[in-house]
């Protein structure tokens, strides 16, 4: 429960921090940290325009996308307090429930009958699906290390005994950071601030959304940032008590936002045709984690 609330809190300011960091590095003052959230609230109050081509799929998709992310959030623990749902293998449910939301997002884009949105949908579908193995192998390796298969028990037992596991945490953080960038269509994969539809992924998928639905999608993206941030937080917390986890959580989320801002400021977008290779490479990083775990456990000789 506590992690759920904290994630909602973090989602309020995280994209503000990203925007602010990007402004500062480019020498501008930048908007208030709460500005993106204010934009979303403004969208929630606005009326909508729907295309005549669209059907009920288009109207229901943002809702399902949003609720899929809420559902995924409810599985994440924080420190010693477990998520709302916690069972063995819950990370499989986590990944698949996010995929359900994505499925609807993609078909909603196809529902508009626009060539641009179809293009975005095609890219989003391929890129985020190629990223799936990396997440599974990462979580599986941590499961192998700890002997557990649910988020809560894995994270609690992760740093039991050895400090080397923090090194694993760092590789895992890198993988998760890159997954965040892929899932949210951010810089090395996609440039959200580009002005050419042909080079967009996520932004071009939601061209036809407006009003409340657009607000929902934006807020879902913020929540997704907080979601992956929380995964990273958990890589380092272990089973600390609440009074220590809450400040650490907020600190790491802020740091997470700043690092995304920095990545976005100093990295160029990859060529669209090279993205797929890059994403599959992430799986090899996960395999690196796996081999480190095998080495730690001394399984090579067994």
């Amino acid at each position: 429960m506590i992690s759920f609330i904290l994630m909602v809190v973090a989602s309020l300011f995280i994209s503000g921090i990203i925007v602010r960091t990007k402004s500062v590095t480019s020498g501008r003052k930048g908007p208030c940290i709460m500005q993106p959230m204010k934009d979303i609230v403004r969208l929630w109050k606005k009326g909508s325009v729907y295309s005549n081509t669209t059907s009920w799929v288009f109207r229901i998709a943002p809702t399902i996308y949003f609720s899929s992310i809420l559902m995924a959030m409810s599985m994440l623990p924080l420190g010693e307090s477990p998520g709302l749902f916690s069972f063995n293998g819950d990370f499989v449910f986590f990944a698949y429930v996010l995929a359900t939301g994505k499925f609807f997002n993609i078909i909603a884009a196809l529902d508009t009958g626009s060539s641009f949105e179809g293009m975005g949908a095609s890219r989003e579908a391929l890129f985020s699906m190629l990223a799936e193995p990396a997440f599974f192998i990462l979580m599986g390796s941590l499961g192998l290390l700890t002997g557990f298969t649910s988020f809560n028990s894995i994270f609690q037992a992760l740093h039991f005994g050895s400090y080397i596991t923090y090194a694993l945490g760092i590789i895992a953080t890198f993988i998760l950071l890159m997954l965040t960038m892929i899932e949210n269509s951010r810089m090395p994969i996609d440039d959200p601030k580009t002005h050419l539809e042909l080079t967009m992924i996520h932004e071009v998928m939601i061209l036809d959304n407006s009003g409340f639905d657009l607000g929902l999608i934006f807020q879902a993206t913020n929540l997704k940032f907080a979601l992956y941030g929380t995964l990273i937080v958990n890589m380092f917390l272990g089973n600390l008590p609440l009074y220590a986890t809450i400040p650490l959580f907020l600190a790491i989320q802020i740091l997470f936002g700043i690092s995304i801002g920095l990545i976005e400021s100093f990295m160029a977008r990859y060529r669209m045709s090279h993205n797929a290779q890059f994403i599959l490479i992430l799986s090899s990083l996960s395999i690196l984690v796996l081999f480190s775990v095998l080495m730690l456990l001394g399984k090579f000789n067994s």
């Binding site: 729907y50 449910f93 698949y96 009958g113 179809g118 985020s128 045709s273």
Partner: protein, 675 residues
């Protein structure tokens, strides 16, 4: 009279009467006899799943010996799956076939073979005598062949049918060799002899036997590289037949593998590794080829191959668990495989029925020619969407439950395994997650281009929603899909006895671990329910908040372009173009194109056809070589009658001469001896 004779007698009467009835009575009799078969066999099956195994001993003949008919829990599970799909298939098919009502004789043949296939499938599950097993297997194979070639006036259909017939007979040949081997060693046709064989023969030989069985059944199930008949046969058959073939006919191969695994519990580890590796390859290869198909039914056929791969991964996990003595892993693996068998039969038949509705409305199966059908066929679109979500393994539907079980089996093995098994399971998890991701790509493509957007093609008749009777069986399937997704625990409990056939009585410590790992599905069901409820709540909140807002309708935003037309939409091929470019290193494509050139360009075109590399190399190339070699004997078949009479004469002379050769031989021997 024992129940089996009674049963066969009633069915025989139905089979004989069908050809003499009018079109309507025929349908009524078919539905009635289907209902009879279903109720009759399901009663025994449900009893078996609860705990009372039914068995009869038919006398048989001098050749076959006694024929044991056994309905044990494993058979019962498959019987129930078969019955449900055949019931929906009969109701759907009765309506589907109205379009062909002038082909009277063909319809009779079709329905007779429909019933025969059902009986054959049920018999395959029950019969435990090798010779009779081959007999009923053959009945099933041939009657399903007759169903496939319903539209026999199309050359493509006949070609697909013959392909299926030949390949299923190669499978039967392999099975016959395997059974003959057992018979030679044990001198018995009973299935128990297979167990005796496994226990008395050295390990490599029983492994070889199991491998033979696996290959024989893999032809039916469609494991790569034995899958090549599937993508031809499914699109050629009428929709309900495709649904049944993909839903249950190929599953009988899975049944065979499981049955043999149960009878030969000796080489669990080795065969588990083989099955696991082949299944991962099957799954990934199936979905990779599915994505690039343009023909809706071929696409679904390749997805059947993918799902057979997923089921196979479950079986591999299960048998590795048995071999390594890890009971929780074994139970989860077999449970995942058996549940996925049921799940796949549900959503795949639903998808084929949906494809049938689309075909009857538009007379096309080319994905590129559809678009915007959701406005014209809203119910079919909804049903197809649910099936797409379920087959992609997404919660809150049934596909996720079985995939989850298989995942947890793999991860369980991964955590407890030694180095080499860790690598194996990582390979399988990588494959399974890739399959899941690519399935989503494939079904967003299929659903998106068929039902969404605006129409890409004007059809002669405006497409309209299918008949009520076509939709009712589909709704029944959807209901079951959702029930399994939300209350999976009841279905997993029903699987308990079939799984126990494999594991036997477990130590109580393992028992606890097993029930703990199976109880997870209850929590998943709950989480799925919460997910649905949460979506409902968000929807209500959205509705409440947007009540007073102004909603306007307009054209799709064209990024400043003001004259968009349907041709400008993203097509299915362009949707998967990036993927196709990536996959070109593995898959094979046949491209023809003529580029635009010159000042006054004439017509230009560009066509891409995906080919099956396995088929090209494994079947195409040897056939070509064989034809080349056999062509050298073509002088024998020169078309002149005199020569043919001569061949006959020579043949008869050789026949007559055979005893003479014997005499000659003896004479020579005698001569040599005297010398």
């Amino acid at each position: 009279m024992n129940p089996i004779t009674l049963f066969l007698f009633v069915v025989l009467i139905a089979l004989v009467t069908i050809p003499f009835l009018g079109e309507k009575q025929k349908r009524a009799l078919l539905l009635f006899s289907e209902l009879f078969i279903v109720v009759f066999s399901s009663t025994y099956a449900i009893e078996a799943l609860i705990g009372t195994t039914t068995s009869y001993l038919l006398l048989g003949s001098i050749i076959t010996g006694t024929v044991p008919i056994v309905i044990d829990p494993l058979a019962a599970w498959f019987i129930l799956i078969i019955n449900f799909t055949f019931l929906t298939g009969a109701v759907y098919g009765a309506n589907y076939m109205k379009a062909y009502r002038e082909k009277k004789s063909q319809l009779s043949l079709h329905w007779v073979s429909f019933l025969l296939t059902h009986i054959g499938l049920l018999a395959v599950c029950m019969v435990q005598n090798m010779l009779v097993f081959l007999l009923v297997w053959e009945i099933m194979a041939i009657s399903s062949f007759v169903m496939v070639i319903f539209e026999s006036e199309k050359p493509k259909t006949i070609k697909a049918g013959i392909n299926y017939l030949i390949q299923s007979h190669i499978g039967i040949l392999v099975l016959t060799i395997a059974f003959a081997w057992v018979y030679v060693q044990t001198n018995s046709f009973s299935f128990n002899a297979i167990g005796t064989f496994a226990h008395t023969m050295p390990a490599p030989e029983s492994f070889g036997l199991m491998l033979l069985f696996f290959i024989g059944f893999a032809f039916k199930a469609g494991f790569v590289p034995f899958h090549t008949w599937l993508p031809y046969a499914h699109p050629a058959a009428p929709a309900h037949v495709s649904g049944i073939m993909s839903g249950v006919l190929i599953k009988i191969g899975i049944y065979g593998i499981l049955r043999m695994l149960f009878l030969m519990p000796t080489n669990y580890v080795a065969i588990g590794v083989v099955i696991l590796v082949i299944s991962v390859i099957t799954g990934v290869y199936g979905v990779m080829l599915a994505i690039v198909q343009h023909n809706l039914k071929t696409l679904l056929a390749y997805h059947s191959i993918e799902n057979i791969g997923i089921i196979g991964i479950g079986i591999g996990v299960g048998s590795l668990g048995m071999g390594l003595g890890n009971f929780p892993m074994a139970v989860i693996g077999f449970a995942g495989a058996l549940l996925h068998t049921l799940n796949h039969s549900l959503f795949k038949s639903l998808l084929f029925y949906g494809a049938g509705n689309v075909y009857q409305a538009t007379h096309s199966v080319n994905i590129e020619s559809f678009g915007g059908l959701i406005k014209r066929m809203p119910q079919t679109a909804f049903l197809f969407l649910i099936a797409s979500l379920a087959i992609s393994g997404l919660p809150p539907f049934n596909g996720f439950i079985s995939e989850f079980l298989i995942y947890s089996g793999l991860i369980n093995g991964w955590i407890h395994g030694t180095f080499i098994y860790v690598l194996l399971f990582v390979f399988a998890v990588f494959g399974l997650s890739l399959i899941g991701g690519l399935a989503i790509l494939c079904f967003t493509k299929a659903f998106g281009t068929i039902f969404l957007g605006s129409p890409r093609h004007t059809f002669d008749h405006e497409p309209h929603e299918s008949h009520r009777m076509a939709l009712i069986p589909m709704y029944a399937i959807v209901a079951l899909i959702i029930v399994i997704g939300i209350f999976p625990v009841y279905f997993v409990q029903a699987l308990w006895l079939p799984i126990q056939q494999f594991t036997g009585n477990m130590p109580s410590g393992d028992m606890l671990a097993v029930s703990a790992s199976l109880s997870v599905v209850q929590q998943i069901g709950f989480a799925s329910l919460v997910f649905i409820a949460l979506t409902g709540v968000v929807w209500l909140v959205r509705k409440q908040l947007t009540k007073k807002q102004v909603i306007t309708c307009g054209e799709t935003w064209g990024c400043g372009y003001v004259a968009p037309n349907p041709k400008i939409q993203y097509t299915a091929s362009s949707f998967v173009r990036t993927y196709r470019k990536l996959s070109e290193s593995v898959l094979q494509f046949h491209k023809h194109k003529k580029e635009i050139s010159g000042i006054f360009p004439d017509e230009a075109y560009h066509a891409i056809h995906p080919l099956d590399r396995v088929e090209t190399y494994l079947i195409g190339a040897p056939l070509k070589r064989m034809r080349y070699w056999l062509n050298r004997f073509s002088f024998l078949q020169n078309g002149s009658l005199q020569f043919y009479i001569l061949y006959g004469l020579v043949f008869i002379m050789i026949l007559v001469a055979i005893p003479f050769f014997g005499y000659l031989y003896h004479f020579m021997v005698h001569l040599l001896n005297t010398l």
